[in-house]
Symmetry: C2
Subunit: 361 residues, 2 copies
């Protein structure tokens, strides 16, 4: 277990276990008299795996529990789905004391968190991430939101969960692509903050691929510790530190958009991390040797193939749309060494195009 | 000028003046190099009075200023209008460093604040309230939101403005009903926290009615000081103190809803305050003499007439829907004396019906 703090005060706990049972323990402390209502939010796919189990645990605690299931897919991470959830909450007379439970991947967590942030000006919510990507990234740090008008996460809020429960057993049911996508954020975490963790990833490649329970547990904990330290230093992305989490994301987001989201987020982060590593070397920050170690490791993952005739200039132009772009130009995250990321304003669009073209050769 | 603080730290200033000129001074400090974009949000009615003046002041500071005008009326305080505003901001490439300016009454301030709270997970906004109601209530305290599915402020967020500029000259153009509506929150502020201010209101009735500039200035400042002290003690409505601002609102909201919003908010607050004062007396908290002084004062305002055949039981049943209702029953705000409000759980629906029926006799 680890605790996320703000200004030195505990805000919420993250519990890692191999079952959902810890939810019951949390509810016993959070709502001892069982007076709150709970709304479990899940997409159609995750619901078929885990909704009954969670419903049953919450039902043992209180009779006031409802389900809200929406159709799976990033295309449903939109205001219309949030509005349907609001309507369900109104019909069931939810008030400010009640609580949502996000059961699922990043789409479910982001959407549920945004509904919780805005229903009655904010109610509690609990994150139960079932994907690796959500477990190591989106469920932690309080970023919530939905897509709007073809822009990802254009509308959202910072709203901290009350509790995060990661059940490592869920990671076993992920398909290969989803798992690799999660690895994108894992690798990023190691690269930006934790050299020893990166070495561990190299040494434990086989155990991770087999989804060995202990290996997953270590890997998720190490990733979450990186995220914890960053978000505690910069909870609202105002100080620069949180920008480091954007390593691999500037070109990753642009590629994701160019491919019309047919590539998964973490796949694009892996490719973006590869480019950012190469750029770190070309800008004289990272040794050729270290850059090659990172690039070779990333290339062992089954990355989706970028069309040879991709319009690189167009992809790079999308980096201008990045909502994290500062008024004075794109902040590009580079590595000064493995395990240490820095903010650079020296990376031009030409630099980005060059590294992209070389990759496609 | 007064400053709203949180945990002892200054958060934003409220400036009271008889022109918009102070906006220019604020911008000079807030954005000295004029690099931000500004979006002025206004409804069609207020825009016709003041939009050019504000546009001109901001344009002197920067060339990056746009207007967003929506059709006036509470019925447009909805997510669709916010979505139109998001689209305008996207088209004009607003990013996290940019700023909205809410020019108007409560509808504009609440809607603009909510858009600012949620666009890119939060951008800055400035409140320029042009109605008395907004100047003494909705522009201060960081509550933002829109109506949803016939429920008022069902969707929203706490998001503090960067600056509040109250131009008392705007109060001169308000029609009589709007002005009286604003007085609802003024009277409430005096009753819950400031006996001397209530006495001032009795003594200065004529100057207020004439909208004498000095009287308005004193009255708005005194009201805002009450609100400042309450929201500083309880910024997120979690500690009870902020509930005191709900004096007159439990029955006021219910009446507003029953009359399908044909009565104005502050008119309903005046009537609700009258009922809450009478209930304070019947519950043995307030002397008959004090209750009568308050009730007689409220009755000097031109209150809208409630139909004699109003379904009182139905109106009272609406108090159950109040989103501020705690899990353990309606918290009703009463006066223990003029200038001191308390939270009561002793007021039953029967009590409310009785006071309502007696008023209609």
């Amino acid at each position: 277990m680890m605790t996320i703090t703000k200004d030195g005060q505990p805000v919420y706990d993250i519990t890692l276990a191999d079952s959902f049972h810890a939810l019951s323990d949390f509810l016993g402390v959070y709502d001892p008299s069982g007076q709150k209502k709970y709304g479990i939010v899940s997409d159609s796919k995750v619901a078929s795996f885990y909704l009954d189990a969670i419903f049953s645990i919450v039902s043992e605690h209180t009779k006031n529990v409802i389900k809200f299931v929406f159709h799976e897919g990033e295309e449903n991470k939109k205001l219309e789905t949030v509005e349907q959830l609001y309507t369900t909450l109104i019909e069931n007379r939810f008030n400010r004391n009640d609580c949502l439970i996000a059961l699922g991947g990043g789409v479910t967590g982001d959407l549920t968190g945004f509904a919780a942030a805005t229903f009655l000006r904010g109610i509690d919510f609990i994150q139960v991430p079932t994907s690796l990507l959500a477990a190591v990234d989106s469920s932690i740090g309080g970023k919530t939101g939905v897509d709007f008008s073809a822009y990802k996460n254009m509308v959202g809020a910072f709203h901290m969960p009350k509790f995060v429960l990661i059940n490592t057993a869920c990671m076993e049911t992920l398909d290969k692509r989803q798992f690799v996508s999660g690895m994108g954020e894992v690798v990023k975490s190691a690269l930006i903050k934790d050299k020893a963790f990166f070495e561990w990833l190299l040494d434990n490649r086989e155990a991770v691929d087999k989804r060995d329970k202990d290996a997953l547990s270590y890997m998720i904990t190490a990733s979450d510790l990186v995220k914890k330290n960053v978000v505690e230093t910069d909870p609202y992305e105002t100080k620069g530190e949180r920008a480091l989490l954007n390593f691999g994301h500037t070109l990753g987001h642009a590629l994701e958009k160019y491919m019309d989201f047919s590539f998964m987020h973490g796949e694009c982060v892996l490719i973006g991390s590869l480019f950012a590593t190469e750029l770190s070397c070309r800008k004289g920050l990272l040794s050729r040797e270290d850059a090659d170690r990172v690039i070779q490791y990333i290339q062992t993952f089954p990355l989706p193939e970028i069309p040879k005739d991709a319009d690189v200039e167009k992809i790079v132009s999308y980096t201008r749309n990045d909502k994290k772009a500062a008024a004075d130009g794109v902040r590009f995250i580079l590595l000064s060494e493995i395990g240490n990321a820095v903010i650079s304003r020296d990376v031009t669009e030409e630099d980005m195009c060059n590294v992209f073209h070389d990759y496609l050769k």
